[in-house]
Amino acid sequence: MLTTAITISLVLVGAAVGLTLIRLALGPTMPDRILALDTLAIDAIALVVILGLLNATALSFEAALLLAIMGFVGTVALCKFLIGRSIID
């Protein structure tokens, strides 16, 4: 039962990644693309956690946490750059 649920959710999250990529390609503005990249990072966390569940490994936890931290830092850095044209002030 769990394997079926994992397969269904992999399909759902995969569709989410596809839709997010459409928004990333369409834009039309810079904040739209940053939002799409941020969402992509969170979708990747979801995928990593689901795959960790499928393979019954605890190693995926560290990868998911790293993705969360890097996604957040990347979003903040991009936004700060666009607001003030400098990342550290």
Binding site: L12, V17, M30, P31, D43, L53, A58, A64
Partner: protein, 100 residues
């Protein structure tokens, strides 16, 4: 058995919410409305998926692990900050467009 059923339900619900956030990202009309989808739905979706992983680990090993829950905790703290910053960029972007 029951734990497995709960985990299955949680993981599908979570994945559905993640998909919902991305549908919002594509369907909604402008950047400010688009911000609503991913910040709320995707964050809760990942929370549900991680909770499912925790429940499934309990079903297999029989020990309760709170370690996974640091991921949704981190996301729930950072999602408003990301949304706030992207909103600020969008405001600046809109102002710049009006000037041109």
């Amino acid at each position: 058995m029951i734990a497995e059923a709960i985990a299955s339900l949680l993981i599908v619900t979570g994945a559905a919410f993640v998909l919902l956030g991305s549908i919002g990202l594509v369907r909604l009309p402008d950047i400010f409305t688009r911000l609503h989808g991913p910040t709320k739905a995707t964050t809760l979706g990942v929370g549900a998926i991680v909770a499912a992983s925790s429940v499934a680990a309990y079903a297999v090993n029989g020990d309760i692990s709170l370690r996974e829950l640091t991921i949704p905790l981190f996301l729930f703290i950072t999602a408003p900050v990301s949304a706030h910053l992207i909103g600020k960029v969008a405001l600046k972007d809109a102002a710049a467009r009006r000037q041109n």
